[in-house]
């Protein structure tokens, strides 16, 4: 290929040069030929003039003779024929020229010649009886200056081909004494006329001059022009139609010009023709073989050959030199490739080797965070987590950039959940923003389709990079993350996902815009030196977007902030809207503070296989509170006997293991039949966090995969999904610091799932408080629903049913929640029939649940308000301020905590309504209303 890349262009250049030479030579030859033909035509005109002059001269001499003879007659002393001939003998100078005096009224056209007949010495009589040259005598003019000329004929006196110039004379007939009209002929051998053309031989060696009359009969006959008639000659040797022949004749006798015709040998010859101006019907024709006039050889083959050989020699020489250099370059390239391979190997090794200890660091740090109660230690540990995550991000960036540079970065499209992506993104960034004291705002369009098709990992990476940057470069104010979409009219199964991130950061100077996407470039390095990062984030984001057919748009005002945005076309897999993401997120936030295991499963058995013992320790630690029984193995071979002998509910296999990797181990295990684990779930542990991994591992036989460093939440969620339901139990109360013991009767209520309620509420206290609130509001809510329904207020009925759905789900009343959800949907679609039919049932179930929860009121008698201390206004304002801040940072758990704490005080009368409103908002999960309630009162 490389050789072809050298040879082919060289050959093309050589070809071009040769073609140019040929074309240029052709052009020059054509130009030269045009000039030659023009000169040839001019020469023809010159010859025409010479011959015309000569003919006029000869006619003039003939006229002198005739004038002299006629003047004698006019003067009364006419000459006899003999006297006239005698005069002419004396008058003529050239012996080659003779004079004939012919009596045209004589049937034998006889007369006298100045010269004797060569075959009959002494005989001067001449007869033109058998020579037809006087056919047009009647049109002959005797006016001076008019040429009267015969065709070429054989002089009967000497047999020489001649022409004759004529004029009439009056001579005396001695027999009758009368004047008799005779024709005086000045007979000139054709050779004399031909001599006038000798000078041409120097210039045109092979030129032949012919003169022919209007019928094409030759006066002077060029030797190469066969036939006695030029037109016949043309017809004989040129394949022409009758029309073409006629056209040819008209062109020839019509004026001057030149053309190429075929001669008797089939060769091209150039003829130039012109009429004699002084004659009525004579035409001059110059003939020359085309090869003798123009250069037919377009190319000088010797020149072309030498150039060709020269160029080919040059090519071969260059090729040899190139080959030598290529060999050296190949060796250098090989070395470079080896170095590059080493780098690639290093990077890929780094990917795994750094992630693995990072897993240990971050995992063990997570344990420290969970188990330590020392604030100093927790602080150190938080710093370790932050630094570890930053380091992980930097490593990921460098690896991604290396892949992009190597062209190994592919876009792998999969179906993904928008909510999951948003969760991951916001989870990653929101905390950072909080830590910097920034407001993290979200504007998520609830109508975005739930499941899209695209490169989930890269999209997440792009948005995370942008958001991380926004947080990094914003000192105060907010970062607003917006996600929306637009439908594409021409593509019904796709949307444009519109993402934008606005910050109130330092902004970007216009002159720095171009540097924004350059790798390793950091804008205002000096000013931002304390901001960590590689300078690759935007480059990677832009590259990914380019690969996905999009582009990152940036608008920025220096000192005020920036907006990064992009539009991305994504196929839609499911059009169900994501719904109110902010609500969902708020709930998730409630669950976030502090680690609480989501469940316990003391009867569950899990096997985890990883070649790194620390990872095994981390894994065990992360699941310690779930009480799951965990067996570990450090290799596939070690795990296989365990697999054969003991049933495991879930088996985690690390992908990258020496000797026998996770996939090979899985394949071998799956191949074993009759083990206790035929139905066991396999989950792959991998450090390769790239798109398409899920498909790859599922294709390999795994049920799912989990990326390292292992996120404990994800791990627990995954176990919740795959562990048998009968082995899932509520989180251990003992581990909840013993602050809340759920009443036994709750576990016996069919309507609620305590574990789900606990999971949603985070801990027993929160769950109990939520249940109590649910119970407290149930009667009023049920009444409100009935009231709104009775009033025909569908909108508010639906809103209330929506609230019932949410609260029921939170406490684990899943069946009631689903029932409410169906009716909410009916309400949204205006399905009053369903509402009318089902709503009483819903309210009935709602009231039934409330009734079943009544024992909660008996567990703790409410304290009397009087027993509670009166809260001061200063304390109350502090509480308001805290509530506002917690709301702004979405720390709703703290909001609940503060609100609940207010219940333990007596509230000043003037603030009682506001506090009630706040508590009610908390009860109804309307956290976003709290700042307004506080502000409204203040305002």
């Amino acid at each position: 290929m490389k050789k072809a890349a050298v040879i082919i262009p060289n050959l093309l250049i050589i070809g071009f040069i040769l073609l140019f030479i040929v074309r240029y030579a052709s052009f020059k030859v054509e130009e030269s030929n045009r000039n030659a033909i023009e000169a040839y035509e001019k020469m023809t005109l010159t010859v025409d003039q010479i011959i015309a002059n000569y003919i006029e001269d000869e006619q003039h001499l003939c006229d002198i003779w005739s004038n002299y003879v006629n003047s004698s007659a006019e003067s009364g002393t006419p000459m006899t024929a003999e006297e006239a001939i005698s005069y002419i003998r004396k008058a003529k100078v050239s012996p080659e020229i003779s004079g004939h005096l012919i009596f045209v009224d004589d049937p034998n056209l006889s007369g006298i010649s100045t010269a004797e007949n060569v075959s009959k010495p002494g005989d001067y009589s001449v007869s033109y009886k058998n020579i037809s040259i006087f056919d047009n005598l009647e049109s002959m003019s005797n006016a001076t200056g008019v040429v009267n000329i015969t065709r070429a004929y054989t002089n009967p006196m000497n047999g020489i081909q001649s022409i004759a110039f004529m004029n009439y004379v009056k001579v005396l007939d001695p027999d009758t004494g009368e004047l008799r009209t005779a024709l005086l002929m000045r007979v000139v051998p054709l050779s004399l006329l031909e001599q006038k053309l000798v000078f041409l031989k120097g210039e045109y060696e092979s030129i032949e001059i012919s003169i022919f009359d209007k019928d094409g009969d030759y006066i002077i006959h060029g030797k190469s022009l066969k036939n006695s008639n030029f037109f016949e000659y043309y017809k004989s040797y040129n394949d022409v139609t009758a029309e073409e022949y006629e056209s040819f004749m008209q062109e020839i006798i019509g004026g001057e010009g030149s053309m190429v015709i075929k001669n008797s040998k089939g060769e091209d010859c150039v003829i130039a023709y012109t009429p004699f101006e002084s004659l009525k019907s004579w035409y001059l024709l110059a003939y020359i073989p085309k090869d003798d006039l123009v250069q037919n050889r377009v190319v000088d083959w010797l020149l072309l050959g030498i150039v060709s050989v020269g160029l080919v020699s040059l090519l071969i020489y260059n090729f040899v030199i190139l080959m030598i250099y290529n060999r050296k370059l190949s060796e250098a390239a090989l070395e470079a490739n080896q170095a590059n391979d080493a780098k690639s190997y290093f990077l890929s090794t780094m990917s795994h080797d750094i992630r693995t200890p990072m897993n240990a660091i971050l995992g063990l740090n997570e344990m420290v965070l969970r188990d330590s109660h020392d604030e100093t230690i927790i602080g150190y540990s938080e710093n370790i987590r932050t630094a570890g995550n930053t380091l992980l991000g930097i490593i990921n960036d460098i690896l991604d950039f290396s892949k992009i540079e190597a062209g190994k970065m592919d876009i792998i499209n999969v179906d993904y959940s928008v909510v999951t992506v948003l969760n991951d993104i916001v989870n990653m960034v929101q905390k950072k923003a909080e830590e910097k004291g920034l407001a993290f705002n979200m504007d998520i369009d609830g109508e975005i389709p739930m499941i899209l098709h695209g490169d989930e990992i890269r999209i997440k990476q792009i948005i995370t990079n942008i958001l991380s940057n926004a947080v990094k470069y914003t000192k105060e104010g907010s970062v607003t993350f917006s996600a929306g979409y637009e439908k594409i009219p021409e593509k019904p199964d796709a949307i444009i996902l519109k993402i934008s991130v606005a910050d109130t950061g330092i902004g970007i100077k216009p002159e720095d815009m171009d540097r924004l996407f350059k790798a390793f470039e950091r804008i205002e390095e000096k000013r931002n030196r304390n901001i960590e990062g590689t300078g690759l984030g935007m480059t990677i984001a832009q590259t990914f977007l380019t690969m996905m057919g999009s582009q990152l748009q940036v608008s920025s005002v220096y000192g005020e902030g920036s907006v990064f945005s992009f539009d991305l076309e994504q196929k839609v897999v499911r059009w169900d809207p994501v719904g109110n993401y902010e609500d969902a997120f708020k709930r998730s936030l409630e669950e976030r503070h502090g680690y609480h295991e989501k469940f316990t499963a003391p009867d569950a058995d899990v096997l985890v296989v990883d070649d790194t013992p620390v990872n095994l320790t981390v894994f065990e630690s992360l699941l310690k509170r779930t009480k799951i029984r965990i067996d570990t193995a450090e290799s596939g071979d070690e795990a296989i006997p365990m697999y054969k002998n003991k049933h495991y509910d879930v088996i985690f296999l690390d992908h990258m293991m020496p000797n026998k990797d996770g996939i090979e181990t899985l394949t071998e295990m799956r191949g074993l039949k009759g083990t206790p684990n035929d139905e066991t779930t396999f989950i792959c542990l991998t450090a390769n966090a790239i798109s398409g991994m899920r498909e790859m591992y599922i294709n390999a036989g795994f049920n799912d995969y989990l990326t390292k460093p292992i996120n404990s939440d994800r791990l627990e969620v995954m176990l919740l999904q795959y562990l048998p339901k009968d082995k899932i139990e509520a989180p251990s109360e003992e581990e909840e610091n013993g602050d809340c013991v759920l009443p036994e009767f709750l576990y016996h209520l069919d309507e609620i799932n305590v574990n789900t309620g606990l999971m949603h509420c985070g801990n027993g206290d929160s769950y109990m408080a939520t249940l109590e609130m649910y119970l407290d509001t149930a009667a009023k809510n049920a009444d409100d629903i009935e009231k709104f329904w009775a009033a025909g207020d569908i909108k508010n009925t639906t809103t209330k049913v929506h609230a019932l759905k949410s609260t029921s789900r939170v406490i684990g009343a899943l069946e009631l929640g689903e029932f409410a959800a169906r009716l909410e949907k009916a309400g949204d679609s205006g399905d009053t029939e369903t509402l009318g039919r089902e709503l009483p049932k819903l309210i009935s179930q709602y009231r039934k649940l409330a009734e079943d929860l009544e024992p909660l009121n008996e567990l703790e008698a409410p304290k009397e308000d009087d027993d509670w201390p009166l809260i001061t206004m200063e304390e109350l304002n502090d509480a308001y301020r805290a509530l506002s801040e917690f709301c702004a940072s979405f720390d709703f758990e703290s909001v609940v905590h503060v609100a609940r704490s207010l219940e333990k005080y007596r509230i000043p009368e003037e603030e009682a309504a506001r506090v009630d409103a706040i508590i009610k908002a908390v009860d109804n999960f309307d956290y976003e209303m709290i700042p307004d309630i506080i502000k409204g009162e203040e305002g």
């Binding site: 050959l11 020489i160 036939n227 004989s236 008797s264």
Partner: protein, 429 residues
């Protein structure tokens, strides 16, 4: 890649070779070895009575392939027969000139033969054997002063396609001829045989009568002597020939009125034949020479071409006669300039191949023994030797031919009877 380099190198080498290649060595015309230096430069002139002699000019070109510097030209002389002697006496005398058999023994032309070269001289190397013996004339001393380049004969053009169309065969005997004529007549052909009839020169009556008269005389030397002497007693020997003319007309083979529509004895005869509705056109071989060139001039023939041949008129039960006479002959002016080169040209020309080529281009009967190369004349080559008559060998003289020509013409036109014609022998002019 190696192949590509190889191809380029090969092309380059070829290009180089072609660039270095000089002019190919000249090749001599096959069968002829030049005896003189091929770079000899001189002029040779051939004079004659033909307006055009492109066939000869083609030979000039072929000769120039061997002797490129020899300028050969053909010049048509006005009043050829009368001026030839003057031309030969003049300062610009030609190298080669047309001569005719009838010039021999004619006092008027005796002087001409004082200029001619004896062509049978072995030193000249002319291949006289390639010519049919009956066409070579020897003078009283046995010298050959002229050599035929074309032959002349008499016969009829036959439209073979028309015969085929009507399901008839070309006649080979008198009886067949009569039958065929009757068949054609019955099929609506007014004049199955046609020919020029307006003037004695080239008239069909002469073409019919002459071969029979010559055949009659050839068998009877005494009669020939009487006839040559224009003795009225020889008139009786014309009778069979004249009767044949009369019979063809009276039997309906020839409709004189149709023939009279043909205005000249050459071009119009050919063009009438090319109309395609004339089964047989009586004419001399000289007329046939004009057929090729006029094929394209005839719109009818161009639109509906047909195959035609020239055959002897079958006027006897055995068939027709091939009257094999020299047409144009070449004589060499022994006093001309460049005589060596002139003889070299004659040696070049007088060969089977060149004479056949000459005859083929001119569409005349070749004087060589092989006549098969031209399909039109090929039938004459098949006439048996006993019916092939060379008038010059037999001793037919020109005055005699005038007698039969005029007698046949006048009888044919009905101006005189056969008896009148017989009686008038010797008096026709």
């Amino acid at each position: 890649m190696k192949k590509m380099i190889g191809m380029v190198a090969a092309i380059s080498v070829l290009a180089s070779l072609s660039a270095c290649t000089g002019k190919a060595p000249e090749e001599t015309t096959e069968g002829f070895s030049p005896a003189l230096k091929t770079d000899t430069a001189c002029d040779i002139t051939v004079v004659g009575s033909y307006d055009n002699f492109e066939a000869l000019e083609a030979e000039f070109d072929r000769f120039n392939e061997i002797y490129p510097n020899v300028q050969l030209s053909y010049v048509k002389l006005d009043d050829y027969n009368n001026i030839l002697d003057t031309v030969l006496e003049g300062d610009d005398s030609p190298n080669i000139f047309f001569s005719y058999t009838w010039m021999m023994g004619n006092e008027k032309y005796d002087h001409i033969f004082t200029h001619t070269e004896e062509l049978s001289d072995p030193a000249l190397g002319l291949d006289m054997d390639c010519i049919r013996p009956g066409l070579i004339n020897h003078d009283a001393d046995g010298n050959v002063m002229m050599v035929p380049i074309f032959s002349r004969s008499y016969g009829m053009l036959v439209n073979k396609d028309l015969f085929e169309k009507e399901g008839l065969s070309v006649p080979t005997t008198r009886a067949e001829l009569m039958t065929v004529c009757e068949e054609f007549h019955n099929k609506g052909y007014e004049s199955p045989m046609m020919g020029y009839s307006l003037d004695s020169s080239g008239c069909f009556m002469y073409t019919v009568a002459y071969p029979m008269f010559v055949a009659t005389l050839a068998e009877d030397p005494e009669a020939l002597a009487l006839a040559n002497d224009l003795d009225p007693a020889a008139g009786e020997y014309m009778r069979p020939a004249l009767e044949s003319v009369e019979q063809l007309m009276q039997s309906g083979c020839i409709d004189i009125n149709e023939c009279d529509k043909i205005e000249d004895n050459y071009t119009e005869v050919i063009l009438r034949f090319f109309e395609g509705d004339v089964p047989m056109m009586i004419c001399a071989g000289d007329t046939v020479s004009g057929t090729r060139k006029r094929e394209s001039q005839s719109e009818a023939f161009t639109n509906s071409p047909f195959e035609y041949i020239f055959v002897p008129i079958p006027l006897t039960d055995e068939g027709g006669y091939f009257i094999d006479s020299p047409s144009v002959e070449f004589s060499v002016n022994k006093e001309c300039d460049n005589l060596d080169m002139t003889n070299e040209f004659m040696r070049f020309l007088i060969t089977d191949s060149e004479l056949n080529e000459l005859a083929s281009v001119k569409r005349l009967i070749t004087p060589t023994a092989d006549m098969s190369f031209d399909s039109v004349y090929a039938p004459f080559g098949q006439v048996p030797s006993e019916r092939t008559i060379s008038p010059e060998i037999v001793g037919i003289t020109d005055p005699l031919t005038v007698q039969i020509k005029m007698a046949a013409f006048q009888v044919g036109r009905g101006d005189i009877t056969i008896d009148d014609a017989v009686a008038m022998y010797g008096t026709f002019e």
